[in-house]
């Protein structure tokens, strides 16, 4: 696979921790999650979630395109574009947005109103309800006049979006692509993960003993990608480099990985090969680490075969599983880690379970060099796997 040779020149993130990347950085340093019972959803079961505060949902004047996922994405996308601008970058001329719910909250609202005998006067599925609604909102707000793409591969949506965006840079289709994605909680996801017994009232402990399952959360994360060559020629400093990506399919089961994590292993090895890095060159792994029994055991199995004792962590003990936004938020966390020279701790568990033969990064995190290499893994329903490899940009932090 051709090397993409792209760099990150801006970041933006929103989650239950707070409305920007600075809040995420504080959370990662302090390992202080903000989980609690749902305040927004009237469900008939007990569930703990990471709900974002009201200031995490961007205000905008476009009522015809509104959705909670759209507003979360817009918050992070605006921050990312502004961050890139501060660093001398121009506005994005392309957008690849990953989401697993899109405008589903709007569909739910309309559907439930119909069922209650109070149908809305108008419902425009194409503008507010469809999967592309958040991308269209972000593109309109940021006045993007170039290619727009929505990727929807469940929990790998943002990672796949980042990979496709890198291809746009490499092929010359765009100069600056806004990539990433997000998902707001909704009735569909809360009820679905609960009925599969993957979530509940207990807080997630990725790779930990007696882990109770995942904790769902709101979240969005975006990167601005540009050509490494072009940024270097302009004398600007990048935040990090996206060295490569790897994708694979499990071809096994719709909601469960193979026990040995074979699909995950193929994606990780493919990403390392694309990045031109050996497993020994990797400083740490920002793992998918949902906190479910099956995922963590399968992922740990793959990681231990490839990396041995290389330390790992998961962001999900801090911000929860933000589904289509997870790999966007985790990409931002990886870039923050590289900029600040620290691999953050695995919030929620410092000791790995017996079925997870991995070394978890403990309290306080661990230092990493300026030119560190980080692998960020993402896996999804449908057996979809996508792995990204980032590297420090040697002094790019600010």
């Amino acid at each position: 696979v051709k090397q993409v040779k792209t760099v990150v020149t801006g970041i933006g993130a929103v989650s239950s921790i707070g409305p920007d990347a600075a809040a995420l950085l504080r959370g990662l340093r302090e390992a202080t999650p903000a989980f609690g019972p749902t305040r927004r959803y009237d469900v008939g079961f007990e569930i703990t979630v990471g709900e974002a505060r009201a200031d995490c949902f961007a205000s905008h004047p476009y009522n015809d395109m509104d959705s909670p996922t759209g507003r979360l994405c817009l918050q992070a996308a605006r921050e990312c574009a502004a961050d890139a601008k501060r660093r001398g970058s121009g506005p994005p001329d392309g957008l690849v947005l990953g989401t697993s719910t899109g405008g589903q909250s709007q569909n739910e609202e309309a559907f439930f109103s119909i069922m209650d005998g109070e149908p809305p006067a108008v419902f425009n599925y194409r503008r507010t309800g469809c999967m592309a609604a958040p991308a269209r909102l972000v593109a309109r707000d940021l006045e993007i006049e170039g290619p727009v793409q929505t990727v929807s591969t469940a929990c790998t949506s943002s990672a796949n979006a980042i990979a496709l965006g890198a291809a746009w840079i490499a092929s010359g289709r765009c100069e600056r692509v806004l990539v990433g994605g997000g998902d707001a909680l909704c009735y569909t996801t809360l009820s679905s993960f609960r009925i599969l017994e993957l979530t509940g009232p207990a807080i997630c402990r990725p790779f930990g003993k007696d882990r109770p399952g995942l904790t769902l959360g709101d979240g969005a994360g975006f990167l601005m990608l540009e050509s490494k060559e072009r940024v270097a020629a302009s004398g600007r400093r990048a935040l990090a480099e996206l060295l490569g990506f790897g994708m694979s399919s499990d071809a096994h089961h719709m909601t469960a990985p193979p026990e040995d994590g074979a699909g995950a292993e193929r994606a990780i090895r493919g990403a390392l090969e694309n990045a031109g890095k050996s497993p020994e060159a990797v400083s740490y792994v920002n793992a998918h680490g949902t906190g479910t029994k099956l995922n963590d055991a399968a992922e740990a199995s793959a990681i231990s075969r490839i990396f041995g004792d290389t330390p790992i962590m998961s962001c999900k003990g801090l911000v929860g599983h933000t589904l289509g936004g997870a790999s966007g938020v985790e990409a931002v966390a990886s870039v923050l880690s590289l900029c600040h020279g620290i691999a953050f701790e695995n919030t929620g568990a410092s000791e790995a379970a017996e079925d997870c033969p991995v070394s978890l990064i403990g309290p306080g995190g661990t230092p990493i060099p300026e030119d560190a290499v980080v692998v960020s893994t993402s896996f999804a329903f449908g057996g979809n796997n996508c792995v990204l490899v980032f590297a420090g940009a040697l002094g790019g932090a600010s």
């Binding site: 696979v1 993409v4 469900v43 008939g44 079961f45 697993s100 589903q104 569909n107 739910e108 559907f111 439930f112 119909i114 069922m115 005998g117 149908p119 809305p120 006067a121 194409r126 503008r127 469809c130 999967m131 592309a132 991308a135 269209r136 593109a139 309109r140 006049e145 170039g146 727009v148 793409q149 929505t150 990727v151 929807s152 591969t153 469940a154 496709l164 291809a167 490499a170 092929s171 289709r173 009735y187 569909t188 809360l190 009820s191 679905s192 609960r194 009925i195 599969l196 994708m247 694979s248 399919s249 071809a251 719709m254 909601t255 699909g263 193929r266 329903f381 449908g382 057996g383 979809n384």
Partner: protein, 313 residues
């Protein structure tokens, strides 16, 4: 812009004269058993069945050497809609406490691609894109990315959507007749199309394609700029068609002005072998199979997106 060569085509759509109301009956006879064991397909929704059949037919048509290794780009606007609506109905009636677990995996947009990878034992990269009614064009753009980055030299591209006449009936029953009429006006049809695309020409007769979705206005200046930027200069004999559902009459006028020629408004999305997502692909499939056709440009616009799909032999 890189062009992709068509190596094979597979379609799964109802007959040209079948009315919307017959869709369910037709789809119940889907020949899915010809392509995958019932043990594997028993959890498939209708869309997954259609996508599976179209994809399998495209693989056969292209004589793909190793179906377990071909990357997949899937596109759908609405996904497995009946699974999603079923979930919502149960969530509404039970506050989410009692829903069918079987609906859950089918409710993600990448369900059809996931089932296809399982059925084919395909472990290659797979991406699902969804850009409203312009998802098929978005899929070709993503496939181009796959080919450009040399993930493989051949990609299976799929697009499809399901629809159900029962939606209209149900909306009427629930007192939402104005919404039922709005659904009817969309003239939805269901179906799927699969294309095998490659970097090199395998069967010159099938031609090559390029496509993209951008945020842009459906006016003459933007259309010209879009085509020029992407290296597409339609020849004088090129057939130009506009997807009615996606853009409609304003786009037709703009296209005629941009290209300085009459442009027919063709109801690609309406009753007939065309379907919501597969409309553009069906148009190019028909052109590719007609020796008299040399070049086709399909334009579409939706909300604030503008798309084209350009085929030439």
């Amino acid at each position: 812009m890189m062009r992709c060569h068509i190596h094979g085509i597979g379609t799964m759509s109802i007959g040209p004269d079948a009315p919307f109301a017959d869709t369910t009956a037709v789809m119940e006879t889907l020949p899915i058993k010809d392509y995958v064991k019932p043990k594997v397909s028993r959890r498939f929704g209708r869309l997954s069945k259609m996508i599976y059949i179209a994809g399998s037919r495209a693989i056969e048509d292209a004589e793909v050497a190793d179906p377990t290794a071909i990357p997949i780009v899937n596109a759908t606007c609405m996904g497995e809609t009946n699974a999603s609506l079923g979930l919502l109905e149960q969530i509404h009636s039970t506050k989410g406490t009692l829903i069918s677990p079987a609906f859950v995996p089918n409710s993600v947009h990448n369900a059809p691609a996931g089932y296809l990878t399982i059925g084919l034992k395909n472990r290659a990269p797979s991406v699902t894109v969804s850009q409203g009614w312009l998802s098929s064009e978005a899929a070709v753009a993503a496939a181009t990315d796959f080919l450009f980055t040399e993930i493989a030299d051949e990609v299976l591209v799929l697009c499809g959507d399901e629809c159900d006449p029962n939606w209209v009936t149900r909306l009427d029953e629930l007192g939402a007749s104005h919404l039922a009429r709005a659904v009817e006006r969309e003239s939805l049809q269901e179906g799927a199309v699969g294309l095998v695309l490659g970097t090199e020409a395998k069967d010159a007769d099938l031609g090559s394609i390029a496509a993209i979705v951008v945020r842009g206005k459906p006016d003459a200046g933007t259309i010209n700029a879009l085509l020029e930027k992407n290296g597409v200069t339609p020849g004088k004999e090129a057939e130009v068609r506009v997807r009615i559902n996606a853009g409609g009459e304003p786009l037709r006028r703009a296209a005629a002005e941009a290209l300085s020629r009459p442009v027919a408004t063709v109801h690609l999305d309406g009753p007939g072998p065309g379907t919501v997502q597969a409309a553009s692909f069906n148009a190019l499939a028909a052109a590719a199979r007609d020796p008299a056709k040399k070049e086709l440009l399909v334009l579409a616009a939706e909300v604030e997106d503008l798309a084209f799909l350009h085929w030439q032999r």
